[in-house]
């Protein structure tokens, strides 16, 4: 990963990270329902979080309609992509650090624990 690892407080909440991560997956534009279903979130959460991302300039929104049904499409902006790349790099570093510390803890010698009174039985 070439992006500079940097946590982004705006992307950190899991729902916003999901939205940005899905938009960065390789698609040009993703429709509201597709994004909502893939992220596994509700309509209201999706609307609320997408407005936050749009206000921050991380997501571009295009509204249209097919017949009477409104359709909203989303795309990640260059700014959003940069922030996401940095945040993902930071998360990956964090994951590595956590797994390294877990390995260290597992490699510690096991100390036998004596239970008082256990020898009587």
């Amino acid at each position: 990963m070439t992006a500079k690892a940097k946590p982004d407080p705006l992307i950190h909440p899991i729902t916003r990270l999901s939205i940005c991560g899905l938009l960065a997956a390789g698609a040009d534009w993703v429709e509201f329902a597709a994004l909502r279903d893939a992220a596994g979130i509700s309509d209201s959460v999706m609307s609320k979080q997408s407005v936050v991302l749009e206000d921050a300039g991380y997501v571009e929104v295009r509204k249209g309609a097919v017949g009477r049904r409104p359709r909203t499409w989303f795309r990640l902006t260059a700014e959003g992509r940069q922030a996401l790349d940095g945040h993902l790099a930071w998360l990956a570093q964090l994951e590595e650090a956590v797994s390294a510390s877990t390995q260290d803890a597992l490699s510690l010698p096991l100390v036998p624990i004596s239970i008082r009174g256990a020898s009587k039985t």
Partner: protein
């Protein structure tokens, strides 16, 4: 709908993102009419040499009579696919050309088959071997549909891997 994004059982955000991308990629399945539509478009395309031979009008007129419906059908198919899946992915127009790295092998295959198919068909028609030209056209259509399927597979893999992300 359950908020799986907030599921406390899934604490690893990177792993969760992988699962969600996989779900998005699974949506990128073509509707039932897409591949038959692609086959019809390519059949029209490979019918070009036959029509230019039988039409008494100048070749340019018969060529346009094929090219315009083919382009219109391509546009309609792509529009329908985007509407049905809710995902706009694949080759993108940049500097007047279409770019899409994951789909490059399929794109090259489509170009090679169309050029080779048209060339072979034209040559066979000139030598009066109409039946052989029809067989070549049928094989070319089948090859183009297979290449189109490979392109869709490449798009799905790219979405699953998160190829557009870092």
């Amino acid at each position: 709908m359950r908020d799986t994004a907030r599921d406390p059982a899934r604490v690893d955000p990177l792993e969760q993102l992988r699962v969600q991308r996989s779900r998005l990629a699974d949506r990128m399945r073509p509707p039932w009419w897409y591949l038959p539509g692609v086959a019809i478009v390519w059949a029209l395309f490979f019918a070009g040499p036959f029509t230019s031979r039988s039409f008494s009008s100048p070749t340019s007129v018969s060529t346009w009579a094929i090219v315009v419906p083919v382009l219109a059908a391509c546009f309609l198919l792509q529009w329908g696919m985007t509407r049905a899946t809710g995902i706009k992915a694949g080759p993108r127009l940049r500097d007047g050309l279409f770019y899409y790295r994951p789909g490059r092998p399929a794109g090259i295959a489509i170009a090679v088959v169309s050029i080779a198919g048209l060339g072979t068909e034209g040559s066979l028609i000139r030598h009066g071997l109409l039946a052989a030209a029809i067989v070549v056209a049928a094989f070319a259509v089948a090859a183009e549909v297979t290449a189109q399927q490979a392109l869709l597979r490449a798009i799905r893999q790219d979405l699953r891997r998160g190829g557009g992300a870092a």
